[in-house]
Amino acid sequence: MSKPAGKEWIAKFPTSKSVNDLSGSFKGNVTKFLRALQAAGAKVAISATLRPPERAYLMHYSYEVSHGLDPAKVPDMKGVDIDWTCAGKDGKPDAKLAVKAASEMVAGFGIAYRPALKSRHSQGLAIDMTISWTGALTITGSDGKAVTITSSPRDGGNKDLQSVGAGYGVVKLKTDPPHWSSDGH
């Protein structure tokens, strides 16, 4: 039996900070890049890796229902047995309760902007991380050759570091400072 929408859903399907939750070859690429950064003495703080697709689904449709989407029109998702209509024992949807429940979820998730339904994070193909170092950074590239980076800034915004990352298959997204992915999106 499906469970009605509401704040009980917020803690399910949490965002991961583990590299092990990344997908396919990207997991290996990130692991190698992080190993190289660590060996070079850079500090790395990971904020997010996999955001489960179930979480994206809950965030996206709670926002949509709270903004007027008919809860009966929300598509089902395998593994997420949620009743967006908040139907009573008689099976009839409770429109008011559905909007209230969706709004509670929006508040609980901390949503203020329209959530994406699909992303590189939900595919396990992105990592958000803050990188920093002091002085020159000598890091081993994917070809095994050492690269010394003396340019600024000394963080993930550094173009030379981004070139090293791209060599490992970890590509910087220009619009979001912490975001690296399999293809730069």
């Binding site: 997010a48 955001r51 901390g110 949503i111 203020a112 902007y113 992303s119 939900s122 619009t175 400072p177």
Partner: protein, 180 residues
Amino acid sequence: MSTLRWLVPIAVVMAANPGPAFGRKAGFQGLVGVAMQAAGKVCFSINSAALQPHTFVTIIGPGEPFQSATAEITRPGKNCPGMPPGTAGYKLRAVTGHLEDNTVLFGVLGTVQVLSHGDGTAVRLNAVQQTVTLRSCTSTDGVHLSIWNSPAPAGARLWHRYVYLGQDLDASCSAAESAE
């Protein structure tokens, strides 16, 4: 798009301490910061570590729905989430207006006149006697706030701040708005 046809003074009465004076050449780094409200509490982050209690802050959210409020600093506090190191955090007490939780907003020291709002908000920053356009947009994981010297995205970008939200968002930024 809704446009105000006359000047709307957000606040015309200065608090006891209006904050430091700024010249045109000083830029916006110590004049403009980021404000966010969560569970009714407002944080304010700015590149200025010496702001005193009762310093007056005008808060503006140029998106839809348009938001504006006035507040005063009560004491130093934690930075707003997602802010870079080096910015100072303050707690604010709202004086007037209503803010939506979890939205990323401009916090401007002193008073501001809103000239028009819709696709960007044109304002007069009274501290520097300058008219600018405020823009807010989303990228993959966060929000970009930017200030332009003419209706955005034309003209020059005068100030920019990225706030990481840690959520997958529908991106709305142009390349110019989200450029580092």
